[in-house]
């Protein structure tokens, strides 16, 4: 890492610069040492390798997320032009006022308000799954829980049937992968993400189960509540965002509780800590560490100027470990209940599926706390992914029941 200042606009101090590649294999699998170094270099760091200005500190990130007029999502959330083109027309990659309309269509069926009848069903499924695995005693926690559970929940909710269910994991992974820069991973994943784009451009109401959220989105399009042709984009977001990132979050719950049985014991003693536990899991290991924006004007932050039109890397994972905001940030302590963590974004683009993610995660945490005293695991394995940091495999060797 170098510390050579880059040229900058008159009046502000030079922007700290680093030769780090945020998307290098070792940074993706073990990002926190690099994030700490960048955070200490400055709140804004120029990374010529990735052609981005990285926002590294908690307050700066939160302020930027709140200011959508300066930090635009249009053609900006991904780190290559092809993916930004492909995401045009989604709420993810648009700004108000278009965003407001697309977001409303998405949340009409996805907000906690819309989902509030589902809690009992999701809790029962999680409990059934965990009970069966406790009985079994050894299994892969990622395959058996972290992948299986959200896949089932999302597929049923959105109304995916038939062969698309078999593609959900592969498509979701590829769709997130291509949000990275044009590296080898992105190049290999574009053809697979292309299958998802193609399917979403052709999917019709009758392909989705009547009464499902997916069906409801097409009905909203028919009555003119959302722009023509946007249903496919929304279904795309469910597939891409609703599976891969939740798989990561639930896998992280299992791995962190396996590594910290004392923290699981806290939830066992006080089940109302489930929500605090999930907040801390999200803070400690963000499913998505880096996300894009573009500046719409010259903006001065932390004494340096970011020029208009610059690609921004919003470093959720670095902000979540900022000691300026969290005491002893590298410790996993559920009782800190970090409700304001950055892992779900914030503001108009705050994760639209967070209500569903909470339902799923709380259900798994509740079931674990009720049925498991300790998970004895072999070391986890990780495979680098441009956007979603998740565990590939976590063998459970033994379950010590509660």
């Amino acid at each position: 890492m170098t510390d050579s200042p880059a040229a900058t606009a008159a009046g502000a101090r030079p922007v700290p610069t680093s030769d780090v590649d945020l998307f290098a294999d070792d940074v993706l699998t073990d990002p926190y040492p690099t994030y700490a170094a960048l955070r200490e270099l400055g709140g804004v760091v120029h990374l010529p390798t990735n052609e981005v200005y990285a926002l590294t500190r908690y307050d700066i990130i939160r302020d930027a997320l709140a200011d959508w007029e300066t930090f635009s999502s249009a053609s900006a959330i991904g780190f290559n032009p092809m993916v930004n083109e492909a995401l045009t027309g989604t709420s993810l990659a648009s700004d108000p006022p278009l965003h407001t309309q697309l977001r409303a269509a998405l949340t009409e069926n996805l907000s906690p308000r819309a989902l509030r009848g589902l809690k009992g069903q999701i809790d029962a499924r999680a409990d059934e799954l965990v009970a069966a695995l406790v009985e079994e005693g050894s299994f892969d926690a990622i395959d058996a829980i972290a992948r299986a559970f959200p896949l089932q929940v999302v597929a049923d909710l959105v109304g995916f049937t038939g062969e698309v269910r078999d593609h959900m994991l592969t498509w979701g992974k590829a769709a997130n992968q291509v949000i990275g820069p044009l590296n080898q991973r992105t190049a290999e994943s574009f053809p697979i993400a292309g299958q998802l784009y193609a399917w979403c451009s052709e999917v019709a109401k009758d392909d989705l189960t009547p009464g499902s959220i997916g069906h409801g989105i097409f009905e909203a399009e028919e009555r003119g509540a959302i722009p023509e042709g946007s249903s496919g984009h929304i279904v795309h977001q469910f597939l891409a965002a609703g599976v891969e990132n939740t798989v990561s979050a639930i896998g992280n719950i299992l791995a962190l509780f396996a590594a910290h049985p004392d923290q699981l014991a806290l939830v066992r003693n006080d089940p109302s800590l489930a929500s605090a536990a999930f907040n801390e899991v999200l803070r400690f290991w963000a499913p998505i560490n880096v996300w894009g924006r573009k500046t719409t004007r010259d903006v001065e932050i932390d004494g340096v100027t970011i020029p208009a039109g610059a690609q921004i890397a919003v470093m959720f994972g670095a902000g979540n470990r900022d000691p300026r905001h969290y005491d002893r940030p590298d410790e996993f302590r559920i009782e800190r209940n970090p409700v304001d963590h950055l892992s779900l974004g914030y503001g108009v683009h705050g994760c639209a599926g967070q209500g569903l993610a909470r339902l799923e995660a709380h259900a798994i945490i509740d079931a674990l706390a009720r049925r498991v005293k300790r998970l004895v695991v072999a070391p986890e394995t990780r495979v680098p992914h441009n956007i979603t940091r998740s565990i590939e495999s976590l063998p459970v060797l033994e379950v010590v029941p509660a």
Binding site: A66, T100, A104, T107, S111, P112, R113, A114, R116, V339, D340, L344, G345, Y346, G347, V348, G350, C351, Q354, G355
Partner: protein, 65 residues
């Protein structure tokens, strides 16, 4: 001070209700109701709860004016 709700933005996440149960709640339809929308800045408890509710809203639908 006044608690201001941007109703179209509110999606009913309900985190504000946990932060400030004496000031607001979700009704049976999941709509946010402000039980009190004025807080006396001298009332440290109420102001603290209101500030926490504003901060916790994941979609920035609440503000203090």
């Amino acid at each position: 001070m006044k608690i201001v709700l941007d109703r179209p933005r509110c999606e009913g996440h309900g985190l504000c209700e946990e932060a400030a149960p004496a000031l607001m709640h979700l009704d049976d339809d999941g709509e946010l109701i402000l039980d009190r929308d004025e807080v006396d800045p001298a009332d440290v408890g109420a102001l603290g709860a209101a500030t926490a509710a504003v901060r916790i809203c994941p979609v920035a639908a609440l503000s203090l004016a």
